[in-house]
Symmetry: C2
Subunit: 471 residues, 2 copies
């Protein structure tokens, strides 16, 4: 069944159903995305204030075969929030469903609406003496509904899991306009199929998440940060295993960085304080979060000594103040911005089994250098096997000089990932950017089941048409 | 579409497809279940040795509309593994797919076939210096495929999550006979709908899990156990919150027990050593698992002191030896057997939000006592909000004396659970026992979506017909 375009003639079907202030024309911010790869079509934006209003809109769209783009903070990196072509859809923004409905500190639970900005979720938890551990660069703009729909990753996954692991229940509007009332605060509930996990990561193609019951954690009483120089990615992984033996679950973050990232920082953002004048080939940023009785500096010293004795760590700095800790994190968090300023030829958000990680880096470097002369900045959440493996022109050249090699580079990296049993989208999702990749690398039985589920729940195909699965 | 009975005339369609030793007649063990509530129909049992053989069987069954009961260890408590009525199905036992395919200690991953007994999974992890934290009373008989299909709970959920949280990927045969190759060892993979979580907890109604990639954990270097007397379930929960502030993620188990359970033990299993001659009204069994640098006895003393200072704990014993620790666990683990020997009128595997737990116990007791004179044994995984709330006759009466009140008691408990936002099946699943409950208490939009998914993936309805959803 083909979708209808949301033309000015059809718009009154929607605008008559809710008060006038629930609609606006699409401003630029709804049509752009962070990397500037996609540009949406102008049209109507709906700004419902309640799940009932979302349901009204969905029912009208289902009846009249109008596509819907569920819109969160707009920070997605794979075009899941932008429809460039095809029938004009309704942009349904959750930005006015931004209430923290309730926080239950004793239960470690918060009920929040989909439009709450991630940083505000963190703050609501913090105000209640709790931690909401999802943390990522876009947290000041991203909205939790989008984080859930894309099963966002970030720096806290190692200790606390992906976004799906932080969700106890969902309220959502399904493609037929029915409301799923699943805001469970339960830790255990084995009553039927887990629709929560089906909607999480479906990128808005199976329904619109309107609210969620989120799992909070005790706030570690004390935290500490270190930058440790390691010989190689393999040494970094061994250090992590060692660290878990020594410190238990206390390691909150373990981020690998390559010399290239530090050099890009020096080149493009010289005001960011770097820990070393001459960057080491590889280093890791380690953060620990511990109960009151444990001293984080001592714990990191223990880790450093154990790592040095095992020949895994050759140098390191343990932050002696919050300022120094913030400086270390600023390095990690500004690497994506430095990358943007340099301008990548091709970027890859991949994961491989931990045991294949070192091999991946070696082999990928060799295959990329066989294509041409490039700079490679490889960094990421090494404890999760998740690398941002990004390829840049050498100094003096620009990404435009290598336009013709982009497809080949991408294919080379993704083919290698596939060979090693990895994923071509570790944390960003499929969106519209990776629909081809999913078809190429996805398991055929999985794809067939996905299509069957999509057709069963959204027979008209109104929900985020063209994302994840070809429309 | 109605299913065909697997009559002797039809059996050769299956038996001709695989070697003779892949089949046997159904012995009693395939037709009975632990509580003796269901009795299956005699018939053919298939014992495939590989995923390809499972796929062959499923394709034949799909073509000829023959129902399939995927069979694990047979320890389920809700009749999910037993078809009492309707067309005779094929019993497809995974018992010969019992290989541990690989263990990756550095990745904290094990790949195991569905027929591996849970205790053998634990052992394989332990042999590699790792922990597989799923732990439940039936672990010597239950098979991991069944644990996954039912999303089993147990005593480790507090720290490590439900079975679904311990699974990275699945291999499965879908109802059309296609093979889902999803044995991912990845921690992060955002490429399409999460079929893993859809199959986990679907109780064999959407496909047959044949193997899984399981998440292992570092083995805590040292562990310790204590029995602490608490004033009330509310005090137990506050003590848990306090314990997490003091010990971080170190608390591995936190099991609430009522005086009644100890008294049943004394009555039916007097050889089990009890910690107190006169049982306290409420107590908790606490286990901590800590890194080498932390002393578990000291940690438990710290918890005891903090609990006493906060007026939450009035007495307690910290195990000074492994024997004493084993004795404490024996008490907890024999309560279900003591319950069986007494003979419950009605048993309930429920969960409520943590904040409603104390209220549930008070209100449920009042409502049950309004029905008649009963003994109530309430125990369970209090940190998960999961209680086994079981109702027994008073001394001198038997369960048979109260046959007429069973339905009313069950309804009373389940209605209260629903009022408080809880679940009528926290960890055992729906099976065939709770199909009515799911229809009564389940969210209508969720049920409609479940039916749509079931029809989309299993249009003929061959997979575990009558379980979870009415056939």
């Amino acid at each position: 069944m083909t979708l209808a375009s949301l033309t000015p003639e059809i718009e009154p079907l929607l605008t008559a159903a809710l008060p006038d202030d629930r609609f606006r024309r699409s401003e630029d911010r709804y049509l752009e995305e962070p990397r500037g790869r996609y540009r949406g079509q102008s049209g109507l934006v709906a700004l419902p204030r309640s799940v009932e209003e979302v349901a009204v809109l969905v029912r009208i769209c289902a009846e009249h075969r109008i596509g819907i783009i569920p819109y969160g903070g707009g920070t997605g990196l794979v075009g899941g929030q932008i429809a460039e072509a095809g029938p004009v859809p309704l942009i349904l923004s959750l930005e006015r469903m931004n209430a923290v409905r309730a926080v239950y500190p004793d239960e470690n639970v918060a009920i929040v609406e989909a439009g709450v900005i991630l940083a505000d979720v963190q703050k609501a938890a913090d105000d209640a003496g709790r931690l909401f551990p999802l943390s990522l660069a876009a947290e000041g703009t991203a909205r939790i509904g989008g984080n859930l729909s894309t099963n966002a990753g970030g720096t806290g996954v190692l200790r606390y899991g992906n976004t799906r692991d932080l969700c106890l229940g969902l309220e959502a509007v399904l493609p037929d306009g029915s409301v799923l009332n699943g805001l469970s605060r339960l830790r255990k509930d084995n009553t039927g199929y887990d629709l929560r996990h089906l909607l999480i990561g479906a990128e808005g193609t199976l329904g619109i998440i309107t609210a969620a019951a989120l799992k909070l954690s005790p706030r570690p009483a004390r935290s500490g940060t270190a930058m440790l120089v390691v010989e190689s990615p393999a040494a970094a992984l061994k250090l992590l295993t060692l660290g878990r033996d020594v410190l238990g679950e206390g390691i909150s973050a373990f981020e690998l960085m390559h010399r290239q990232g530090m050099e890009f920082l020096a080149e493009t953002l010289p005001d960011i304080r770097r820990p070393w004048d001459v960057a080491p080939e590889w280093c890791v940023l380690v953060e620990v979060g511990l109960p009151a009785a444990q001293d984080p500096v001592e714990a990191l010293e223990q880790l450093f000594v154990a790592g040095a004795e095992a020949d895994l760590v050759s140098d390191g700095i343990i932050a002696q103040s919050q300022t120094q800790s913030d400086d270390f994190w600023a390095v990690r968090e500004h690497i994506p911005e430095a990358n943007r300023r340099i301008g990548s030829v091709s970027s890859h958000d991949i994961s491989v089994p931990l045991g294949a990680l070192a091999e991946f880096i070696t082999m990928a470097d060799a295959r990329i250098h066989a294509i041409g002369d490039f700079r490679i900045n490889c960094f990421g959440h090494v404890g999760d096997g998740n690398l941002h493996y990004n390829v840049f022109p050498v100094a003096g050249e620009s990404r435009a000089d290598h336009q013709d090699k982009r497809a080949q580079i991408k294919r080379t990296v993704h083919d290698l990932v596939q060979e090693l049993g990895g994923s071509v989208s570790a944390e960003h999702g499929i969106g519209r950017l990776k629909v081809d990749d999913l078809e190429r690398y996805g398991d055929p039985a999985k794809l067939a089941a996905m299509r069957a589920i999509k057709t069963a729940l959204d027979p008209v195909g109104i929900m985020n048409p063209g994302a994840v699965l070809r429309g």
